[in-house]
Point group: C2
Chain length 216, copies 2
């Protein structure tokens, strides 16, 4: 019975996600779902991307948090449209929350939409939002064993951004073993090692984003 | 309706947690629920504690993970009894899982029991396990804004261990602002800044643990 209820929720979510996707497509928006542990650098990646792509493409941001609007305020200072979702305790965004946020987003003024999920490596993996690409940010200080411990998240990701590579000299972290572990779970995934703090590797990530947009 | 179901689940969990607590008390075991983001250092804190207290007190460990038994294997090498719980997708431990684990733990040989929760700053805060103390590990690389973004977790904690303080020179992190933010949410909380990598501050933490045990 419990499993049935969960399945119903996930089925309903999938239907709303499919509608969100159609809506985004009709507006010509590429939507990217950013997922990670708390503090891995979702907001920092958004800020680094805005810095590089400002004036080139129109970016919008949906910020998902359990509470507070800190990230929305930070991103809003960059002059891009931002909609905050407070989940009120829920540990992940769902398609219905994103549908409500889309109603409040000036979509004709957006070409690339970042949806910053709640900081959590588990439940966000199970809830499609209508996004075109799923991006997992995994930061060096979290350790190189994360693919084994949160395999579903690594399995569903289109891209893994390895953030905070500037800290490599100060940590025990085997970059090759980490990449091998990711590829063992998900052969097709793209991996971008970057540092939002120093800017290293950000260009490769934004080039990939631009390439995704040009294919549409 | 949805809220009612959740309330029922939480009520049932509370009852099982109360039974776990009685069971632990009758065996003279102090149980500590360790919670954090993925990779903040729950297992490292357990290992650092075992290193300092081995031969002084008898330690047991329950390891909670979505999947894998990596941490249980690591901890088991220290020669302490370990029981692994794989939640199979659930993003937190609950009292029933812990009850099953307790049945498999040689409690007469345990004085201090660590329960390592699933790496998640949200849902574990809502599920009592029967523990005597709730310890939140928050690591420097996660950022000093975490109390504002995950307030419930900071509110329910008896102790906040600030881990990875050896990385302070390489990060933007305001330790005073962080402590103030925690105290703003939770006046009674004890805060231990430590580094499991260098051992700095671990002694203060283990002294606190021993003090808790002597009071029983």
């Amino acid at each position: 019975m419990e499993i049935k209820v969960l399945k119903d929720i996930l089925d309903a979510n999938k239907q709303i996600a499919a509608r969100n996707r159609q809506w985004l497509d009709s507006e010509g928006v590429l939507a990217v779902n950013l997922m990670s542990s708390p503090g891995a650098g979702k907001t920092s990646l958004i800020l680094a991307t805005i810095k590089q792509l400002k004036g080139k493409i129109k970016i919008g941001v949906i910020e998902g948090d359990v509470s507070s609007s800190l990230d929305a305020e930070t991103v809003g200072k960059e002059g891009v449209p931002v909609v905050q979702i407070n989940t009120g305790g829920e540990c992940h965004l769902d398609a219905n929350m994103v549908s409500n946020a889309l109603s409040n987003m000036p979509l004709p003024d957006v070409e690339l939409l970042f949806i910053e999920n709640v900081g959590n490596l588990i439940c966000p993996a199970s809830f499609a939002l209508g996004e075109h690409k799923k991006v997992l940010i995994s930061s060096l200080p979290e350790g190189d064993d994360k693919p084994f411990k949160y395999p579903l998240m690594f399995d569903i990701a289109d891209v893994v951004v390895i953030n905070k590579i500037d800290l490599l000299p100060y940590l025990k972290f085997d970059t090759d073993a980490f990449s091998r572990a990711i590829k063992g779970i998900n052969k097709k995934v793209k991996i971008f090692p970057i540092s939002c703090a120093t800017g290293q590797g950000v260009q490769e990530w934004t080039s990939w984003l631009l390439n995704q947009m040009s294919r549409r």
